[in-house]
Subunit: 264 residues, 2 copies
């Protein structure tokens, strides 16, 4: 049986209620094209596309937008040289890109959150999966120890942390991507009494400032910001493993990237 882009996309989205609006779509290429190889990545960066081409893959499954925005706004990039060179590479390499964002976040549990928890080796500590947050009860450890665990497991050079890093915490919430904002996170501290939040990214004047105040008031609340890509890449790695298991005839690769920011 020929495995096409359509076969892959149907499998990825099977049983998931279609979002009313979605950014998920096959950006280039036709569903009936035969899959020669799949690459999954946090985003289809220049490097990821080059790697996909070198590996002979013709389908990249990209969690974030290819052209630096959540909604496709590539027409605004006009003659931008970075955009033009990247577009030309995609065309030349005859690589199709499937944006896979909303559906995987609607998996039960969220497929991206599950990837992060799996990478951290914390599956057994999960007490509840909600759509935008997973709750865990860990063996007591300080937020600083949790940060070291995260760095080691994700193989990242640094995380940003705020609040009380030295008191043992037990109850934690994990939120990937841009779910680190105050409306999502503050009730997890205040109403639900969680000790530690591990998130991807969020506005700095919201949750971090709340945690700053909590510390100043003598409360044991802590926050670890992983970075958006660092929090979501493990979900795309887990996806590659599942695709490989489901479609053993198709070469599947997860392409990691270095962290986009260096700390100086």
């Amino acid at each position: 049986m020929t495995i096409t882009f359509g076969t892959i996309i149907d499998w990825l989205t099977a049983g998931i209620p279609a979002p009313e609006q979605t950014v998920d779509r096959l950006e280039t290429g036709a569903p009936e094209t035969e899959v020669r190889g799949i690459v999954t990545a946090f985003t289809a960066s220049q490097y990821v596309i080059e790697q996909a081409a070198a590996l002979g893959a013709n389908l990249i499954i990209s969690h974030e937008g290819v052209y630096y925005s959540h909604h496709d706004q590539r027409e605004q990039l006009g003659n931008d040289p970075v955009y033009r060179q990247k577009s030309a590479l995609i065309a030349e390499a005859q690589i199709s890109i499937y944006r896979f964002h909303d559906y995987v976040h609607r998996y039960t549990p969220d497929g991206i959150t599950e990837g992060l928890i799996t990478a951290l080796g914390w599956q057994e500590y999960v007490t509840e999966h909600r759509p935008a947050v997973s709750l865990l009860t860990l063996p007591p450890m300080t937020a600083r120890e949790a940060a070291e665990h995260v760095k080691s497991k994700l193989q990242i050079a640094y995380v940003r942390a705020a609040g009380d890093l030295s008191t043992a915490c037990r109850t934690i919430g994990i939120l990937v991507g841009y779910r680190g904002g105050g409306q999502q996170v503050i009730p997890l501290y205040g109403e639900e009494g969680l000790d530690l939040i591990i998130a991807g990214e969020g506005p700095e004047w919201e949750t971090p400032e709340y945690v700053r105040d909590a510390l100043q008031q003598g409360r044991s609340k802590a926050l670890i910001m992983l970075g958006h890509a660092e929090s979501e890449a493990p979900g795309m790695k887990l996806l590659a493993e599942r695709l490989a298991a489901q479609f053993p005839a198709v070469p599947v690769h997860f392409i990691p990237e270095r962290p986009v920011f260096e700390v100086i």
Copy 2:
């Protein structure tokens, strides 16, 4: 002559066209109250309020929202203990807070951007002030050298940087606060050919991913993210100096905060 909150607010907003909608307002207290002392800060944090009380000031001029959001959403915080303790302190200390965000960003040049450029000692290199970005032409230095300069002048322990940090750059754009997003910044690289952007904060999947691709394509583009507070606090410091010069009878203090995030 009695100097009241109203006197101060009238002076701060004089000659600035009123924004159609604004978050700027006296949060507590009455305009006719006499000013006993002023504190300016990036945000009226628990620590800043405690310091203001200790200094005998009764007016805090806060750039960002007191309760962890840009628009006042304090009713959503309900019984949150951090919120309640902070509110109680504000009431007990009888301190009024003036949110001063939109007007100062409408100064010519932007009063917050000007504060950052002044703190960096780069006033003489400015070639153009636009509403959301100031353009500078520096003596050639690498982005890494620029980062060291910034850290030294702002006395901050780290910055996050992306792109080509080792090639000399000359033309730079400075954008404070949350102006680091792709729609603002990417045209500055692509259409205007700037070498280096120094910004406060922005979505990580936008500008940083663009700079990552530019580097992979061999282009000399660099990005330094200061942090939101780190980019805007100098503007509130400059404001304190101007208030002190204008109202010599009123004690005026700028209260700095430690960076909200520690790098681990």
